[in-house]
Symmetry: C2
Subunit: 123 residues, 2 copies
DNA sequence: TCCTTGTATCGATTGATGTCTATATGGCGG
DNA sequence: CCGCCATATAGACATCAATCGATACAAGGA
């Protein structure tokens, strides 16, 4: 029987921007783990490397050499990103590819974006 | 022609979106602490309470009762937010007010926003 | 001056996190 | 089937972070 999928959920953006109304405790508990997954320099760079790579995906073999860290450490960080639902994971032959989930980043960005104040308003 | 982004000087957002090009190690070291400061349910709610409060500011005395945590713990979390540059701090008489810095949140949102995707960012 | 109220700091404790080495797993080629 | 390569997991260790009670500091009022 096939292994159960890990935690890649719909990632529905749960809430309106932080600045429009207070987050509930539950909402905060939902969102914080996403931010925590990103709140590490190595994982930020991993996410960035993956997301900016061609087709929004990258092989582990592309990522590991970018750091002066052991291979298990990189694998660990990728697992954290994956468990948070920020990246998808696919095995193709010997290699494993991680793919960014733009909607995940997008929902976080929306949360942080000031309510009325869109990024750039042209008068 | 595109106006310059309303860059928040003290906190100048260091980088273009994650998805447009890889973050340097230095950029990642700069941004990660901001995310880490937000990556806690209590601090997320604090930030949200402050930002959504009238005038974007709130007294500690308004914030503490919203949690079932000791006053020193709330004070600690506020300090973390302040040290990260996410909120300003001002004493008025007996009370201390914390004020959200929308530019800080905005720069994070810009970082997370997919390059080509929706929002109005101007590169 | 002393007391009271609001907020910050200190020190301790407990649990989480990043990193490593060693080892396991999964696929491919011979 | 065997051995090699790429990646994941396990276990250990050191550091960090969240929380608390106790206490210090700051400001205003008696």
């Amino acid at each position: 029987m096939p292994k159960l999928l890990p935690v890649a959920e719909p990632l529905s953006l749960c809430c309106s921007p932080l600045t429009s109304q207070p987050l509930s405790a539950e909402q905060a508990e939902t969102v914080a783990p996403l931010l925590k997954a990103l709140a590490d320099p190595v994982r930020l760079r991993l996410m960035s490397l993956i997301a900016s790579h061609a087709d929004g995906e990258a092989c582990v073999c592309d990522l590991t050499p970018a750091f002066e860290l052991s291979q298990p450490t990189i694998s660990h960080h990728l697992k954290v990103l994956h468990d948070a639902g920020l990246v998808d994971r696919e095995r193709r032959g010997t290699w494993v590819y991680y793919r960014a989930r733009p909607q995940a980043l997008q929902s976080l960005a929306t949360l942080l974006t000031a309510a009325g104040a869109t990024p750039v308003t042209i008068p």
